[in-house]
Structure formats: structure tokens, C-alpha cells
């Protein structure tokens, strides 16, 4: 665009006008081309989006819980520091309707060894909000505590579970795990919701320690139903709406044929029914469960045996502090082989009081005291103080 020296002003002006017009025409033509290209690109993007909706699978997060503990028991029992649980769980999804739940737990046993449990391994198919069917090993869905908290120490207000609801290898007297099928769902009922759980699976068994009477622990029979018997169970609950939001009441039941490995073997038709109440609203936590056993001796002639167990726990949160208390009691018939053969099958009552402080929504410090009294097989008592630091991640 350099000017020739000596060119006239009108001539230079004419050339400038022509050059400007040419530039404007070229720009207009270019703009039209760009607009068309943008339109075409937009159409292509729309078509690609329609073919491939936004990606929902954003990886597989690993969640978990862990806790460390310290305690003092006045009867010569455990004292000092102890590792609690290290619990990992995964929730893989395969499409909209198939999902999995995998939970792996590491814990230190009383002799200091490391125990590893494949706590849950279940695959589910979701038919809709009203029905999901799970297959595999799952937390037995009786009552409330066992499925709500289980190894989730940080989401459980207290340090301890009710003693009779402990895990099988920690002295629990009701099978905490089932290997089989579980149907669950919620159905609108009035303004609230009816929830249900129906489950079946391998009847559990009792393993005695070296055949010693009264030394047994429950075994979920994860590999197979060793006595070829199935268990059946149900849990029906109602979630209240409106002013009673947070309140759930329910009934539950279970029946199984459970054998031990004594010689000769004891076989018991274990049957319990009961109910529960849960209120978790307005910073209150009220939990209550009741179990009424009606067991039948199948291998002997001792007939039926009635036993019962239950607890009531109340807590109230004030900011980051939650004081709580729990009372629990188990009256277990010692002429019933199902309880008599279990190491922790004796009757007891326990009073618990504690204080929880939430350092963070994901970390809690808990101080808890309990007094436990055994009332039949061995009459004794002890008091205990426990401190726990529990986190989730």
C-alpha cells in the first residue's frame, strides 16, 4: 500500500476508495463464509451431543471409616490403646439399573492379629423406587442399627453397639450377615412411605472352639448352606410425614435352622419377631429395638424356649456436642442350645452414657462409660470407660 512519489491527490483518493471497497467486499464474503461454517459446526455439535449424552460415570470413589480407641476395664479386661476398624466400601454402577456394593474390613482381634472380612459383596438390580433385588453377602436387614451403622463408627453416635447386636465374631447372638437374596424398596402410603425388606439365604451355623460346649460363635455360612436349610426374614417399616418427619416405626421377623458342630450336633429352629422405633430429627436421636425369640429344639426333646432382648438409646445434639445414654437388656434361656452354645449367649444388662464431640462433620471424638452385669451363666459385672476417635473419608 505504499504510495508512488508524485501521484496526484485525486488519483490517490480514487485508489484508496477502490481499495477500501475491495477490502469491505472481501470481509463481507469472509463473514458470510464464517457464519455458514459456524452454523455447520453448531449442527455437528448438536448431533454429537444427541448421540452421546453428558458422561455420568465420573470414576469409582473409595469411601471408608476408621477409628482408634483407648479404654480401661476394671475387671482385668482390656486396657490401653487399640486400633479399631479400617473399613473400605465401593459402590460401582453398571448402567442405570445394575449396581454393586463391596465392603472390606480390617480389624485387630483380641490376640493382636489382623482379621480381614469381606463384609459385603452384593450385586443389585433396581426395578424402580419400589423394588431393588440384591444377591450376595449383605448386612441382615432386621431392626435398624445393623444396616444403618454396622462398621460405620463415625456415623454411629456411640462408641459401642448394643452388645447383643455385635458382629458375629465379636459376640453377637443374632446373625449380622446373610448370604442370599434381599428384596427392598419403598412405596408411598398415605403421605408417608412404607418400606420393606424381604430376605432369604443360607441358614447360619455355630462353630464351637475345639468342640468346647459354650464356646461357639455364629458363622454366616458364606460358602454354602451347610445344613441345606434356608433362612427367611422380613422388615416392614413406616416413615411418617409432616410434623412427624424423621420418625420410623417397624416390625421385623426371622426364622432359620441353625446347627452347631458339637458331637452330637444341636439343631435349633431359631425364630424371632419384634419391632423398632427410630426418631432422627430436630437434633434428637431416639433408637429402640426389641427381639422376642421363640426357638424350638429340633435335635432334642427340650421343646420351645422363649428369650428376649432389646435396647433404648437417646441422644440430643447441642452444636458439636451430643450427650447420649443407652439401656440394654437380654434375657436368654440357658436351656436353649442356640444361646447356651454361644460364648456370649448369657443374659446381661448394660447401662451406657457418653459424650460425642464432632471435631468436623467427618471426625468425631467420643467418650463413653458403661456398666455391664451378667445375670445367669456367670454372675459378674464390670465397668468400663472407652475413648474413640472416628473418621470417615
Amino acid at each position: 500500500m505504499s504510495e508512488k512519489p508524485g501521484a496526484s491527490v485525486p488519483g490517490r483518493l480514487a485508489r484508496l476508495i477502490v481499495a477500501s471497497a475491495a477490502t469491505a467486499w472481501a470481509a463481507a464474503a469472509s463473514a458470510a463464509t464464517d457464519a455458514e461454517r459456524i452454523d455447520a459446526l453448531e449442527k455437528q455439535v448438536s448431533q454429537l451431543e444427541a448421540r452421546s449424552p453428558a458422561r455420568q460415570d465420573e470414576g469409582l470413589p473409595l469411601h471408608g471409616f476408621m477409628d482408634v480407641n483407648a479404654g480401661y476395664r476394671n475387671n482385668g479386661g482390656p486396657r490401653g490403646f487399640a486400633l479399631g476398624n479400617l473399613d473400605f466400601y465401593l459402590t460401582p454402577r453398571i448402567g442405570d439399573r445394575i449396581k454393586g456394593l463391596i465392603e472390606l474390613n480390617f480389624e485387630i482381634n483380641e490376640s493382636g492379629g489382623l482379621d480381614t472380612d469381606l463384609e459385603r459383596m452384593q450385586i443389585g438390580y433396581v426395578f424402580g423406587d419400589a423394588a431393588t433385588v440384591w444377591a450376595g453377602r449383605f448386612h441382615s436387614p432386621w431392626g435398624y442399627w445393623n444396616t444403618a451403622y454396622h462398621h460405620g463408627q463415625q456415623i454411629q453416635t456411640t462408641v459401642t453397639r448394643p452388645k447383643f447386636l455385635e458382629f458375629e465374631d465379636r459376640g453377637g447372638i443374632i446373625p449380622a450377615h446373610t448370604v442370599g437374596l434381599w428384596g427392598t424398596g419403598a412405596i408411598p402410603a398415605g403421605a408417608g412411605k412404607l418400606t420393606y425388606d424381604l430376605f432369604t439365604g443360607n441358614s447360619q451355623r455355630i462353630d464351637l472352639d475345639g468342640g468346647t460346649p459354650g464356646s461357639g460363635t455364629l458363622n454366616p455360612n458364606t460358602a454354602s448352606a451347610t445344613n441345606h436349610r434356608a433362612l427367611l426374614g422380613f422388615n416392614l417399616g413406616y416413615l411418617f410425614p409432616g410434623a412427624l418427619d424423621g420418625l420410623k416405626v417397624g416390625v421385623h421377623g426371622y426364622t432359620a435352622t441353625i446347627d452347631d458342630d458339637a458331637a452330637p450336633s444341636n439343631s435349633t429352629r431359631v425364630r424371632f419377631a419384634g419391632g423398632y422405633l427410630v426418631y432422627l430429627e430436630s437434633d434428637w436421636e431416639v433408637l429402640a429395638e426389641y427381639y422376642d425369640f421363640d426357638n424350638l429344639d429340633l435335635s432334642g426333646d427340650s421343646g420351645t424356649h422363649r428369650s428376649k432382648a432389646g435396647y433404648l438409646q437417646v441422644g440430643k445434639t447441642f452444636g458439636r456436642w451430643t450427650p447420649y445414654a443407652r439401656g440394654e437388656k437380654a434375657s436368654l434361656d440357658q436351656t436353649d442350645a442356640y444361646f447356651a452354645q454361644q460364648e456370649n449367649g448369657g443374659s446381661y444388662d448394660r447401662a451406657v452414657a457418653g459424650l460425642r464431640f464432632d471435631l468436623d462433620p467427618r471426625a468425631a471424638l467420643k467418650l463413653e462409660a458403661n456398666h455391664t452385669r451378667f445375670t445367669d451363666r456367670v454372675v459378674s459385672a464390670y465397668s468400663e470407660v472407652r475413648l474413640q476417635w472416628a473418621i470417615r473419608f
Partner: protein, 121 residues
Amino acid sequence: MLPIAFSCLAEELVIAHPSVNISKEDVRDVYLGEKQFAEGIKLVPVDNASVQELFLSRVLKMSAAKYETAWIKKSFRDGLVAPSTRSGDAETIEFVRRTPGAVGYVAAAKPPAGVVVITKF
């Protein structure tokens, strides 16, 4: 001045992909994992970090900490996955517009194109 003027005009909306047919009464259940399907379509709730606190307090009546705890319990018991979180309104709108079954919430001066408005909050 512009952001102030915009925020005065903005409304908080619960929005959904056009494939979703739910009522405003369903929104709480959707965000607490109690309602996973609507007319056979898997619902995909998504949180919006820029208005999450407002949404939780107005619609779910809970704090962010309680919301997180509720989802931990739900995930631990039922194997559900908590809603993913988008950073702001534009990202939320884009996700909801493009994802069948998606439900989200935004602050917007007018209903965004390509989505349906379930309710204001």
C-alpha cells in the same frame, strides 16, 4: 453495577431435562436418594456449588454437613452415589440440558433454554 443488577433480577429455579416429569414435591426425595426414577427414567440430580447453601436451607431444610452425612448413610446402606457437584449456573444448565434424567438448580434471570422449570425456591 451489572452483577448487582443481575443478581437482583435472578430467580432460584429447580430445572430438569425435558425428559423428566416430576413435581415440586418430589424434589426433596430426588436430592435425598429416596426417588431414583420418574416414569422409568433414571434421575440424575446434580448439585450447583454457587447456590447449594440456599437450596439446601430452603428446599431440604438442612445444612451442608447434614446433607453430606445423609448421603454417606444412604450410600453406605443402599449403595447409592451422591449427586455430583457443578461449579456454577452455566455448567449446571449445560449438564441438565444435555443429560436425560438430569435435575439441577440454578439462579437465573430467566428460565434457561433447553430445560424445564420444576419450581422456584
